[in-house]
């Protein structure tokens, strides 16, 4: 079995709301997916993210231990933004693909990127 992060990208114009205080609520489709993938033993975790307007970007200048620079917003504006991720355990890429295609973002204007997880060193 292999672990994949299914990175859920959403169109920025839909996700980047005028009212940043508004909490992004996952639509029913995500709950259905999570329930199905959970029941199949495929879903190993996942989180939703607040919109990029809520982001703070941190850099440290002058190397490790240097000045911490804090800026409002994401590092770069993009057409599609990361809205969350699921952790999927599947036998191979074909099985992971089958599940990824059931995540609403993949068919509702966004996309899902499957990235294999680097195994932890023992």
């Amino acid at each position: 079995m292999a672990l994949y992060a299914a990175l859920v990208y959403l169109p920025a114009d839909e996700y980047w709301t005028d009212r940043p205080e508004q909490v992004h609520r996952p639509s029913d489709g995500y709950e259905v997916f999570a329930a199905d993938a959970g029941a199949a033993g495929v879903l190993k975790g996942g989180q939703g993210l607040y919109p990029p307007a809520m982001a703070t970007t941190i850099t440290v200048s002058g190397g490790k231990g240097g000045d911490v620079i804090v800026t409002d917003g994401p590092y770069a504006e993009a057409k599609e933004v990361l809205g969350g991720y699921f952790l999927l355990e599947a036998a191979d890429l074909d099985e992971a693909t089958k599940w990824a295609s059931r995540i609403p973002a993949s068919w509702a204007g966004g996309k899902v990127e499957l990235r294999p997880i680097v195994p932890m060193q023992e």
Partner: protein, 421 residues
């Protein structure tokens, strides 16, 4: 290379692909299997010329390559940094002839291994270019240097691309398996497009002076035949093989015997076509039609188009109305400037140069294609607009990617200009 040396290399290459397929399954690593087969092939090249080709070359290569693979695993395990690996899933088996013989499975298992290798190398999660390169390497057994030349890149660049493709297969876990019947309709087109891309590369060497050194057309036909054997009765595979054979049959007429210039279909000496091959293609196409229950896929449609030309006595006596209709069907299932360009040219034969020019000018996005400008020049010339025709030909000459194509266009330009002095 002498004839016997060539045959020897060919035997190793063909048997090597199926050994690679089996070892990839047994060891679970394409990289390891490839390295092992490579070493076994070198050993064969060293020993076979003096000792003779063994009765069963595949068995010899399989046993030798398997032992090489075990050697690699032992070396890896011996390294202290890799200690965890020796306790892992890779077994280091006993080195007995008996065990090696047990790997020589019946033909049906070899067939499944080859199919697994094909579907893995042509997986949609790999970039199309990587699929073609990897297929040429693993399925056709061509060496990296030859593939690099064909792609017009330095050998280390191609080697790196192949490594990256194998890494993706291993890391992302692209499965080593044949898709089940439900998935097959989605997955087969990626395989067929690799074979088709290899074949079309034969007709349009993307750059460079001479015809490239890989015999792409032979490789493509070989792969299509292999697919036909492995998956008998698949209508699109039959259609693709028919298409490739119709085209292959014209090979003797396709380049001039003097300068090696390409000869256009309309000017080819049809008596030099391989008519036995055309007959084979025709019966394959009939079989594809029988099995496709009335719905022709893109390769079958192209095979029908090719058949129209192959069975016509001359360019003028070709059934152009049928060809136009077939292109219109093809445009419904495929996208692509090349199809639209050929449709416009066929329209020129069926309905005249005016219709052809209107059709050509209605195609967007081919401004950088020398073929589009050459076709416009043809239509303009036939309409008596020779100055515009000459201008279009000059643009085509500037854009032509290879010297033989450029020379052909220059000859056409000089004939237009001469007519009007």
């Amino acid at each position: 290379m002498t004839e016997s040396a060539r045959q020897l290399a060919e035997t190793i290459r063909v048997a090597g692909a199926s050994v690679l397929a089996t070892l990839t399954r047994t060891f679970g690593s394409l990289q390891l299997a490839e390295d092992a087969v490579q070493e076994a092939a070198l050993a064969a090249l060293r020993t076979w010329p003096s000792g003779g080709i063994p009765d069963d070359p595949r068995a010899w290569l399989l046993v030798t390559a398997r032992n090489k693979a075990y050697d690699v695993l032992r070396r890896e395990a011996a390294r202290p940094a890799k200690e965890a690996f020796s306790g892992g899933q890779c077994q280091i088996g006993p080195d007995t002839a008996q065990e090696a013989l047990s790997m020589l499975e019946p033909d049906s298992a070899v067939r499944d291994d080859m199919l697994r290798l094909i579907f893995t190398c042509c997986h949609p999660a790999l970039a199309p270019e990587a699929r073609v390169a990897l297929s040429l390497r693993t399925l056709a057994g061509l060496d990296v240097a030859a593939i690099a030349r064909a792609f017009g890149v330095p050998e280390p660049t191609m080697a790196k691309r192949l490594v990256r493709a194998r890494q993706k297969i291993a890391t992302a876990r692209i499965p080593y398996k044949v898709p089940d019947d439900a998935e097959l309709p989605e997955r087969l087109p990626a395989v067929l497009s690799v074979v088709y891309l290899i074949a079309t590369e034969a007709h349009s060497p993307s750059s460079g002076d001479a015809v490239t050194r890989i015999d792409y057309e032979t490789e493509a036909v070989r792969l299509a035949r292999l697919l036909c054997e492995l998956m008998p009765g698949e209508p699109e595979i039959l259609g693709l093989l028919a298409l490739l054979l119709f085209s292959f049959a014209r090979r003797p007429a396709r380049t001039s015997s003097r300068g090696g210039e390409p000869v256009l279909l309309r000017d080819q000496d049809r008596s030099t076509w391989d008519h036995a091959m055309i007959a084979e293609a025709t019966s394959l196409l009939a079989e594809a039609v029988r099995r496709s229950s009335g719905v022709a896929g893109p390769y079958q449609l192209q095979a029908h188009l090719s058949a129209c030309h192959s069975t016509a006595p001359s360019w003028a006596d070709t059934d152009w109305t049928r060809i136009v209709a077939l292109y219109e069907l093809l445009l419904e299932v495929t996208e692509g400037g090349a199809v639209r360009l050929n449709w416009a040219i066929a329209l020129g034969e069926a309905e005249g140069a005016g219709a052809m020019l209107r059709a050509l000018d209605g195609i967007a996005g081919l401004e950088r294609s020398h073929l589009w400008h050459a076709a416009r020049a043809d239509a303009l010339g036939r309409l008596g607009r020779s100055e515009e025709a000459a201008a279009a030909l000059r643009t085509a000459i500037d854009l032509a990617p290879t010297a033989p194509e450029r020379r052909l266009l220059i000859v056409r330009l000089s004939s237009i200009v001469d007519d009007h002095i």
